[in-house]
């Protein structure tokens, strides 16, 4: 087991190197310039922008810039943002709590809806409940978050005036009021993201469950006279969960990576909005760091998923 994990981690090193190389090259080849805003400012002579480019090493050949980045990264130096001239790790750490809170809650909500609904629908396929759940799921994942987000804002903020639509990281209240405010402002983004995730997950859980529930051993368990709940939870669900675990594991990096569209709509200062604003301003060090961390997380959670398989189904052995 530990040997397996070690081997997988070693394999991850070259693949991460490859990913970083591709990312860096793509970013370096992409058009644009972090100092383009200076170019439109008549107070700033054009040489100033050029001097800044040279100072920040943007005029060096790509391979040299990549090597420099790699060496610095290996020493734990993430570089600094061209636009805020601040260390990249500080920038990311500043954004992380908000992203974890909002996106994490959304994922949790999705799971809390998807598993019970999916399992229940699978035990009673083609009943009214199943039909309704299926229809809602279809609608849910057909509606993009930028649409539902704006719809929610129109209904709950503008028409009804119940919820704020600008997320604030700095709530004046203390104690209980602080918690209430914190929850209140997160309701809309969490709902938008959570319901979207829940919709696709419900369908996934349902079909995984349907595959298992028809198998002979489930019938056997029933024939032994076990209760419905026990059969479903103990016998069927555990086996049905294997594909679901994969799905969840692959979605975990997204919890850290944030949700670009939703964060932009509700002005949530998370990793997603950091990424998009950095991309727009061609802030290579930040884009590089965020995407690279994202790549690491994907590799890591894939590994975790594989390890979990072994626990869920002892027949899968990890060598």
């Amino acid at each position: 087991m530990s040997q397996y994990v070690l081997r997988r981690l070693l394999i991850a090193v070259p693949s991460l190197l490859g990913i970083s190389l591709v990312l860096f090259t793509v970013l370096a080849l992409a058009p644009g310039d972090p100092f383009s805003e200076l170019a439109t400012n008549p107070n700033v002579p054009p040489e100033v922008g050029l001097a800044l480019r040279t100072k920040f090493g943007l005029d060096d050949p790509i391979y040299l810039r990549y090597l420099r980045w790699l060496v610095a990264m290996a020493q734990g130096d993430w570089g600094f943002s061209f636009v805020s001239r601040m260390n990249v790790d500080t920038l990311i750490l500043q954004r992380l709590p908000t992203t974890l809170y909002v996106i994490g809650s959304a994922q949790l909500l999705a799971l809390l809806i998807a598993i019970p609904v999916g399992v229940y629908a699978a035990t009673r396929p083609y009943t009214i409940f199943d039909q309704i759940a299926n229809t809602l799921a279809f609608i849910g994942f057909s509606l993009p978050t930028f649409f539902t987000g704006i719809l929610f804002i129109l209904i709950f903020s503008i028409t009804l005036d119940w919820l704020p639509f600008v997320y604030s990281t700095d709530i004046k209240a203390t104690g209980v009021h602080w918690v209430i405010e914190q929850v209140r402002q997160a309701i809309m983004p969490v709902m938008v993201l959570g319901l979207f995730q829940a919709a696709s997950m419900t369908r996934f859980v349902r079909s995984a469950m349907l595959d298992v529930i028809r198998l002979d051993y489930v019938t056997t368990a029933r024939a032994k006279g076990l209760g419905q709940v026990r059969v479903i939870v103990k016998h069927a669900m555990r086996n049905a969960m294997i594909p679901v675990v994969t799905l969840i594991a692959l979605q975990m990096p997204a919890v850290f990576g944030g949700a670009i569209v939703t964060e932009q709509i509700f002005r949530i200062p998370g990793i997603g909005s950091l990424l998009i604003s950095s991309i727009l301003s061609n802030d290579t060090p930040v884009v590089m760091a965020v995407t690279f961390v994202f790549a690491c997380l994907v590799v890591l959670f894939n590994l975790i998923a594989d390890v979990l398989y072994g626990w869920l189904d002892p027949r899968i052995s990890l060598r």
């Binding site: 644009g32 040489e47 001097a51 800044l52 700095d170 002005r267 909005s273």
Partner: protein, 596 residues
Amino acid sequence: MLHTDLRTMIEGVKDGRMDRRAFIQRMIGLGLTAPMATQLLAIGGVAMAQSPSSYKPTKRGGGGPLKLLWWQAPTLLNPHFATGTKDQDGSRLFYEPLASWDADGNLNPILAAEIPSIQNGGLSADAKSVTWKLKPGVKWHDGKPVTADDVVFTCEYASDPATAAVSIGIYRDLTAEKVDDLTVRLVFKNPTPFWASAFVGAYGCIIPKGLFAEYKGGKSREAPNNLKPIGTGPYKFIEFKPGDLIRGEINPDYHMPNRPCFDTIEMKGGGDAVSAARAVIQTGEYDFAWNMQVEDEVLQRLEKGGKGKTIYAVGGDVEFIMLNCSDPNTEIDGERSSIKTKHPLLSDPAVRKALALLVDRDAVKKVIYGRAGRTTANYLNGPEKFVSKNTSWEFNVEKATKLLDEAGWRPSADGIREKDGKKLKLLYQTSINGPRQKTQAIVKQACQKAGIDVELKSVVASVFFSSDVANPDTYSKFYADIEMFQIPMTQPDPAQHMSRYHSRNVATKENKWQGTNFPRWVNQDFDAAVDAAESETDPVKRAALYIKCNDLMWQDTVVIPVMHRLKVAACSNTLRPVISGWANDTDNLQDWYREA
């Protein structure tokens, strides 16, 4: 002729024989901007007027929180690193310059005790030095006094190339000398008739020597105060999250009486312009949002029964179409649009004139810009009453057709005009931006009627405006026949605005397309006028020269002005902000207040 008249008029104002307001009106009539007119008076020896303040509160504080919404978030708080307007606005909450421009284009003293003039000995006759006196008793937020040393240091800090300050262009051609603890003399290398760019406005913010002295030059990035500003402003810094939020609280020791009004200030960033307008105008979650680049129709809908409104500030920003004088399709020494070539179609003045007749500025205003635009014939636009007597514009398809017919451009079988085998086909590029694409469509339609085929091209703004030498789609390379964008006028002086088109500034491969003369227009008279204006210390002659520059550009149709754009902000019904078209939105923040 003109300037002897002006001389008498200036003398008149000086002796009190003529009203200064009347003088400015006359100047505006002559095609000068109001700020220029006040500058004229200043150098002509009349002290600059200060617009009366409408500030009402009679005590400091008590106005509650002020919540600002900037849909692009500030990313740093050092005014000399401020790449974009958003960063300048953010830094300006805490740092202050010696003076700022008010809504009428007059200088308003902030840290200065008075505005330099000939009478108070602040201005020298040769325009080579300016002496500023600091207000006594001003303290930094950490309690240390503000002295001339800080001003001198700011100049040294910004002008050091190793600091990598974006304001270097303003400070490298001057030196600051300390006269005494509260007096600084700025000495310019060359006569500088417009002396008010250093230490005025966003790039004029003074930083404390005590905290930045160690971080001048190569170590500038490491200064802890880059993110924790200690300034002199009306609000003291509490917290900054780059790209998200700035928070501040009232400065109880602020150097102006009864100011500021608000107890706390918050600047939230991110999102988009439309939802920012919603948060201010419709739901009232925020008090003020900047730069409402939203269609007027949408804003009007939001304003119905809302909690806020839009407000406008007039500056000199102009949106225009630039006509290429060189040939974008011929490559010479690896360079297209080379100055060595002539444009095959646009070198014919009739085509240029026809194009100007085909831009329906009224329709553009009506359909797109609404209240946020004004039609104009001029490249150089000033405050509200500015109407040049010498220029005019019209939209007239028949006249354009006639002009082209007379010049020998005859319609061919496919309806497109041609002459000597050259078809009248133009590539029209701009950045991706809703209003610009709509303008393109309006122009294209009119051109089609006149038998000109226009191909539209739009480039992502971050590419179009970049200085990336490797990219062919930038606005400075200008590999198209005509292109459209906006040049902001950040200070009420035409020097920067006009010298762009001097022939020495032509964008070429040699200067890595850093030259600002994108149309590659070469005109001896214009060059001579700009050169003369730049060393002309007589304000009256100087003004006449810049008017001549504008008229020359109009005669040659170097650019076709599409819209004189106003600054638009969304503002709560109870807030009384002070914004100026000549300054950053937060530049007069100390005078903002709330009316119950």
